[in-house]
Symmetry: C3
Subunit: 425 residues, 3 copies
């Protein structure tokens, strides 16, 4: 069968998407209602929205020929996922048989999409939009169950979601990408590169994530004093992480040069790692230590672990989500265990125990890996429109790409390898 | 007369702009005063600011050679228009002979510029900055009258301005572009195309509009519970619209490929269409139905109607504002009529009747068409610096464009020094 | 010694950065504590964050080969500076031996970094990251002293920091760039140019600065009514400034064409100039006059003064910070003196006198020039990794730049039809 046939998702995608939207609308009709609420959280909600749609979307635009998909499929996953997430999380919090929507529920709906977007980063360039819709449904469903387990049953602390979102999303995505492993991509694909301007586009994502991360970590804090503390801790954690990332990036390069990949990603690890303990009185200097360690772990992960995972374990992690979300998320989880063990005064709550925190981390990790493996198995079904190895990391498989550029690509068949590169600029 | 002479607006533009600014400052001196007010609406104001300056500006950067004008003239229209709008809307709401400015008035000043920016989308690439200043003055003046008619005299509901801004701005622009019709642009202009990166720039506009649309639709809602409801309805309407747009975009393409133009524009139709009824208890699932229908209408408009309007009716709509603002705005207006007819309990107000809603829609449409035709007639005056057909959609007529690129275009048939420049793109 | 050796900052940069981070964390451990506070200022804080990281960062991306440094080193300076600024400003405001951090302190920490970012604009492309770290430490330290002098000792009015941030940052940077003067850059460097897309990236910075400037000028106003007034004045000042800038930009060009450099920069002068008096009842029309004059001064500065400073005084100001921050800041300071002299009713405070305002302006200017000269002297030390003249304005000295582009540069010596396409990018 030709590759053109394989990836034509005209009916598969459109029918699946429309069907899902109809189902969601019916479920909303049955279950969802407005809830009267105040607007206190509205600025936090809007900050989170910017992170989800601009932050995650642009962070992934670094690939030279995959910008439409990065920002476009990110938007699709988020817009679809927030509806599905409203239902999945809502089912665990029904009030008299109804899901009552207010700003807090919408923030959480946005949060639930973050897991799918993190996993999207792991498989970026290697999956079809049909596969991403299915992944979004499965991941958000499983996420909602794990989140309920962690916050309601284990009653663990995880206000900035280091475990429930970052660890979960990263390891879910890694399990998927492992199951979907393609030997043909073992060697670096010629499209899996950035250009100067695609890297600058990616910095738009990085910076908006950085700026609004304090809102992400504090939006779910119920009490205002604690919420401000979450903002303060996240702010200083990120700042320390950024300085450390720059330092290590230079140190690890023989010529002392900075790596834009590290600046785009590892500078954010401080926001992930402080998540679990963000609202606790751990002291700003402790927040900065956590941020610094997160930066170190993340840089080392990108530098040593990612190539190793790819070559030894067949885990190809396109955006390096393991280093940005996975490892710093685990650090966040461990921090929670340690703080619960040594600092009893930080929270009066009896439920804040090392055991429960460890259970929460284990549950997030385990359920993510199992859920990701299961999802990967389903996504492996042959009729889901996956691109051939050769066409990976290339928008033109699923998108109409500007005419001039294609014309150009055709005309330019016989001047050197650089023409393809120019065509994608 | 040479085209260079025609488009040199050195004295025309600068004298007109300075004169207008002097007049505005004098009028501010006579009429405008501060009003004590609270900061509740400040975050909504800032969200609207982002939509006006970044959202509208970047949405139009998709043209490969018209980015400076898109984002620059957008800024000019907005900065000029918000001053003029403060006066025009203010004259209808004087308090003891004074226009009292607070955050609400500034939000409405921003809103008034949105009409001119929507119309700018219809004529994009075909008008001079002088023409755009004149259009802005006339359109905002007429808009303020229609808005007064709709909200004060007819007392119609239109909280998110589906009719007063979107229908008005779109049909005003379409009337202008019809009157300014150029047979020479009948065939697709070689500059009327995007490049890969210009399309990604445009997505910055799309996403910020998408993210902050709930603020746009709720900023003018007086009561807080209703304001949150407007946020909820807009959020879910946009989400449903986005999924449907992706589905139809794939369905309408033979190879099942997504169109970036549709993703840039039709995904926003849900925000427009929910505008009129955003604050009413129509139920979230109804908001999603409205969003879905808006997506369908907008995609079909881009796919079938825009080429037809251009070829049969001589209406060349550069950005497709008819599909993003016009048709979804009419849908919003019709929704208002239907809701007024069938759901009496949603608003106790006696004034919320199908008749008044229909009158508001008719008035917005009719006044826009008449006002646009009149404005188009004035803009047709030969000395306003319009570019020749050949130079349409090209920044270099009204902007200094980076030297290297021009040099490059001329010199570049035979190597070397330009390569460094290309490498940095 | 080869240039490769000179600019390899592998150990210099990383050890300095890590050492500074450790010192800062220790100082935080000793001196910093949380302060209970309310979230009223949180939206203002987030707006300022966007200005610092996105606004300043992207504004400087106009150089064709210096985008990574503009946005990356901007991030480094800001992340490092906000920690250092917390300490330096905090030492002047200790409560029982502790620096108590809340949203207001974080806003001020962000503000303190703005001075270093403005100075970065003056030396952009000519300094190493090591030099920038040292500059940041020195400048923020001196800034905190001058700010204490101006606001606490002189008790001058400067709510939007026209003097303490804009005048200070600009003249500090100019003094540094004068001391670091390189005769080899006398003639325009071939890298000191923009490309079409780099200019559009810069507009992202401009627009976010423009949009959120009202938050910058009002964040430090203690009373809410005054805060809204600062927002109103800044909004209209910027709007008037923008229209005037467009008018003059066209007027000063023989062909009447707009200059994107002026639109990127001079449109913001209105925000700078209104800073000192932003919260006073000066009347909106006066704000618009100040904005208009700021636009005129800034445009004339770019057009006539910058080339003169470079050729006659050996002051090479890469971004033209003198025109965006220096001159409009002085205008702001003078406005403060005039308002204090003629309008006694605007502030009851006895301390608001022309003399004190003049002393504040003189102090900001004098301390900046002296501090900048001193800093420049230190930065001149030969082992700080400064690039050779030839390698100025080029990311590849301090950054790994995408491989393909370098390859491309080598291969692309002899083809044709693709060049036009590239030229339009």
């Amino acid at each position: 069968m030709s590759s053109a046939l394989d990836t034509n998702m005209r009916f598969k995608f459109s029918i699946l998407a429309l069907l899902l939207e109809v189902i969601i609308i019916v479920l909303f009709g049955i279950f969802v209602e407005y809830k009267n609420s105040v607007a206190t959280l509205y600025p936090f909600f809007q900050d989170v929205q910017v992170m989800i749609f601009i932050g995650f979307g642009f962070l992934m635009t670094f690939l030279k020929k995959y910008g439409f998909s990065s920002v476009g499929i990110n938007m699709l996953i988020a817009a679809f996922g927030l509806q599905w997430g409203t239902l999945m999380q809502g089912f665990w919090h029904m009030e008299r048989g109804k899901i009552c929507v207010d700003i807090r529920r919408m923030i959480n709906a946005d949060f639930s999409t973050a897991t799918a977007l993190i996993s999207f980063g792991a498989v970026l360039g290697k999956t079809s939009p049909v596969q991403m819709l299915i992944l979004t449904i499965l991941e958000i469903t499983i996420f909602a169950c794990n989140e309920h387990l962690v916050t309601e049953i284990l009653q663990a602390t995880d206000v900035g979601a280091s475990m429930t979102i970052h660890v979960f999303g990263a390891y879910f995505g890694l399990a998927v990408t492992l199951v979907l492993y393609r030997p043909g991509l073992k060697n670096k694909h010629e499209n899996e590169e950035s250009t100067y301007h695609s890297d600058i586009f990616a910095m738009i994502g990085t910076l908006f994530l950085w700026i609004f991360w304090p809102s992400f970590n504090s939006a779910n804090v119920p009490e205002q004093t604690d919420r401000i503390r979450a903002v303060v801790n996240t702010y200083y954690s990120l700042a320390a992480c950024t300085v450390v990332t720059f330092a290590l990036s230079s140190l690890l390069d023989q010529r002392g040069k900075f790596s834009i990949i590290l600046i785009q990603n590892a500078t954010l690890a401080g926001g992930v790692a402080i998540g679990t303990c963000a609202d606790l009185s751990i002291h700003p200097f402790a927040a900065m230590c956590i941020g610094s360690i997160a930066g170190i772990i993340s840089v080392l992960g990108f530098h040593f672990l990612t190539p190793l995972l790819a070559s030894k374990l067949n885990i190809h992690d396109t955006c390096g989500v393991h280093n940005l979300h996975g490892l710093p998320g685990i650090l966040g989880g461990i921090t929670g265990i340690v703080v619960a063990a040594i600092k009893e005064e930080v929270r009066q709550d009896d439920s804040f125990t090392p055991g429960m925190q460890a259970a929460a981390l284990g549950s997030s990790l385990g359920i993510a890996l199992a859920g990701g493996a299961l999802t990967g198995g389903i996504l492996k079904l042959p009729f889901l429109g996956q691109a051939s190895d050769q066409n990976c990391f290339d928008d033109s498989v699923y998108w109409e790409v500007p005419e001039k550029e294609k014309t150009h690509e055709i005309h330019s068949n016989n001047h050197d390898e650089h023409t393809r590169f120019e065509a994608t600029m």
